[in-house]
Amino acid sequence: MPVLTYLEAISQALREEMRRDPAVVCLGEDIGAYGGAFKITEGFQQEFGEERVLDTPMAESSIVGMAIGMALRGLRPVAEMQFADFISLAFNQLVNNAATLHYRFGFKVPLVVRCPSGGGVHGGPFHSQNPEGFFFHAAGLKIVAPATAADAKGLLKAAIRDDNPVLYMEHKYLYRRVRDEVPAEDFVVPLGQAAVRRPGRDVTLVGYGSTVGMSLEAAARLATQGLEAEVVDLRSLVPMDLETVLGSVRRTHRAVVTHEDRRRGGIGAEVAAEIAEQALEHLDAPVVRVAALDTPVPFSPPLEQFFLPSAEKIVEAARRVARY
């Protein structure tokens, strides 16, 4: 099986979907002639033409608004935010327009918004965010966050084929650092399905995006200390596969949830609340969250390192719940 980087897998998925279905189009800033800020759409305009790989003026709310219109009229647009941080400009279009068109009017809105997100890349406060939390709270938006190259491909295909608006959180830090086997053939990773990346009986480590790798690293360290951790990769935030998480917690009795988004009101809070509500009698310790500080993303490396979650912080949290 071919080995691809996370970035290559995204590009491959997008190219294959554009070949498979003429309704799939891309739009965003610098994606056409320039091939995209991260070169994910390099060569696409040559293959698919300027109309299907559209370079837009700079206005994120109208990029998303336009994509909504394209979706209503029979296309399957994949809009790119050059950095996930700029999605705040499209908040209204996503939360009030895209998210409510089916509930109110019965329209399907087959729209994908690709969001290069995440820190650890010296990006500072406005090139490092993980904005999924804001949209997790809306009603009517699906959200996925791949952690592996295979999932980057399979989840993007699934997102494009979904008739609803899907935010695709592609983590920039993982672009070239994550590399794994990606099936060459057409495959999708269905939305709403978590994956157990490592079995274990002593504590459940839940994560998504960049924190899955951190959780696996933490699990390796914990194993040398006699603790076997089970790592659950959520993959899909809306819809979320809580059953896999709960099934794991019912066996391990302890849980740590990690995300790179800020702690307060982050998706980890939702997972923790659901575990407490649905599996309280199985818990031997409180559910602990590991997350970024409740601050803007700082720039200087020692500040950012302190801000971000890490394998070490997960190990510490796991040991805390194990000792409880």
Partner: protein, 346 residues
Amino acid sequence: MMDPAPPKDVIDIPDADYGDIPRATLLDLYHYVRLTREVELQLINLFKQSKVVGGLYPGYGHEATTVGTALALGPDDVLLPLHRDLGAHLARRQPAKFIFAQYMGKATSPTHGKDGNVHLANPELNIVGCISHIGAMLPVAVGISYAGRLLGKSVVTMSYVGDGGSSIGEVHEALNFAAVLNVPFVLVVENNRFAYSTPVDRQYKVRHISDRAAGYGMVGDRVDGNNVLAVYAAARRAVERGRRGEGPTMLECETVRMLGHSVHDAAKYVPPELIEAGRRRDPVARYESYLLRKGVLQPAEVEDWTRRLHREVAEAVEWAEQSPLPEPADAGRGVFAEPGEGACLH
């Protein structure tokens, strides 16, 4: 039902060249401005009887602007009306009974009670309803026209903002996109001189909103929004311009908001002279007078029309009143489209 702003001393529609408008279209325009007025008066009536859920934002006085613009579109074109554009819905053949069901929050409304007042769509009629945030539908319209072109069809989109809405950032973004991408998009600016209580001299510095069109590199036009023939002719020009591949148009229609922002609003901030001027330029009365003067209609036909409209609207109200309210648990359904189930424009 009592007309809250009866026209007096109506100022005639001037004789001018409005293009070659077939008699059938002249009568369509007449039918829909009258229907719009009739539905509006019934809505006000129902509101006073507490049969309307929530607010009512009357478009009384906007009939020429809304009907004249919407009738210029073809069946493959797409209409994106705003909250005061009842006339656009009706002119596009949106059934009046759906309007009443919407206002009453009934299960039979096109939104099944999920949204109210004029926030309704109709995929078969290529109508996309709005959200309350003004301007949000404009980039959507640009995207619809763009998609049409990519799919090899001529899809003109038409949407609306008011004088107030014209200040919103997204309006500028969308106009810029429309011009750069050269899409067939018509933005109707309904300038009724007031955004709730804010008069135009507190809203913008340019003399006319349509003066801004040049700033985007697109065509701007401005007409008497109380003259349905002038509006229709200008809208036709804009639609045809789009069809010829010559890009978007900003069409400013100057009118007067005859009633308050909502029926609750006594609108004492509006100078009485303005209301008086609006009353004398009542779009429905002027147009009827014009058609009678030109012999397109006879007085007996006008009476006939009145009877038919009263009956049609009464039946629509009856249908809505007899309709059930939605099942409470429906509130939790329909957030996402199931595979193969969602509607599409065509």
